[in-house]
């Protein structure tokens, strides 16, 4: 598996995401936001958490217009894999690679804690290391994680089995408890919780490891 992790000014989970990919066996290249192209042969692009461009205007809005994001969109259009975590999920909705938007948390507070996530589908190369219905513990750390989409979009996500993870105890007001969603081709995953922060015994939990291992399994021969 060859992974690229995008670094924006204000990214702060880029190293963590790179280490999680590496521990699953990936070769990882860090890519700067001003780069206009991805290195050749990349299987998956990771868009990390943080506060790209200081969250100015809207979270992820300015990052979505950066030169590298045009290449990430082209990579996704070619059927490439993309994982966006936290701010990365916000960037993916702002680019239009995933539907909906992330609003301010309903309680207005920044929330940093480990939450229960129900695996809603194992039918993706991100989630097939889990069983549908499993409850895993993954940290969240966000101020704008309240997933919103119109009723038609929510119905489509449900009908196409594209809700990857749902909160067991909704912390932020997200519609239908949605914590993470897949693209139509199931190769783009955006999620607010941080699997890379539950990827080493030193983190206090390892429930995120299965996600990276599943990707490595799927992309080893790609």
């Amino acid at each position: 598996m060859r992974a690229a992790v995008v670094v924006f000014p204000g990214s702060n989970c880029d190293r963590d995401l790179a280490v999680a990919f590496e521990q699953a066996g990936a070769d990882v290249t860090m890519v700067w936001h001003k780069d206009s192209s991805l290195p050749g042969g990349i299987d998956i692009v990771g868009i990390p958490g943080g506060f790209s461009y200081g969250d100015y205007l809207r979270c992820g809005a300015i990052a979505a217009q950066s030169p590298i994001c045009q290449s990430v969109a082209a990579h996704a259009d070619r059927g490439g894999y993309v994982l966006g975590v936290c701010n990365g999920f916000q960037v993916l909705t702002e680019t239009g690679l995933l539907p909906g938007a992330l609003l301010r948390n309903a309680g207005l507070k920044y929330i940093c804690k480990t939450v229960g996530l129900k695996v809603e589908t194992s039918a993706s190369d991100f989630t097939n290391g889990y069983n549908a219905g499993d409850v895993i513990d993954i940290p969240i750390a966000h101020h704008d994680g309240n997933y919103f989409a119109d009723a038609e979009t929510i119905a489509t996500l449900k009908g196409e089995d594209r809700i990857a993870f749902a909160y067991t105890d909704n912390p932020n007001g997200a519609q239908d408890d949605i914590a993470g969603i897949l693209s139509h081709n199931r190769r783009v995953l955006g999620m607010m919780p941080h699997p890379e922060r539950a990827a080493d015994a030193g983190h206090g939990g390892t429930d995120g490891v299965a996600l990276f291992r599943a990707l490595a399994g799927a992309l080893t021969t790609a």
């Binding site: 217009q65 909705t93 301010r104 309903a106 309680g107 919103f148 119109d150």
Partner: protein
């Protein structure tokens, strides 16, 4: 040319910040505030030749997220 863009959350999209302001106004004793919606105003200084259509493109592509926000453009 100057343009002023007003960006608001669409009706039906929860505005927790507006709600917090409404609560605060009530707690201060201002009676009868039934709703508060908070948006943003973006002022643009534009070179000669820019058109309202250009500003609309800016809104569609960056200044507003039309999934959750609506916008209006005022040309001054």
């Amino acid at each position: 040319m100057k343009a002023r863009v007003h960006v608001m959350l669409k009706n039906g999209v929860l505005d927790p910040q507006g709600e917090a302001v409404r609560h605060a106004l009530g707690a201060m004793g201002f009676a009868g505030v039934e709703g508060v919606r908070q948006g943003k105003v973006i002022e643009l200084d534009l070179a000669e030749g820019a058109t309202e259509a250009d500003v609309t493109q800016m809104c569609e592509k960056l200044l507003a997220n039309t999934v959750i926000e609506s916008y209006t453009v005022e040309i001054a």
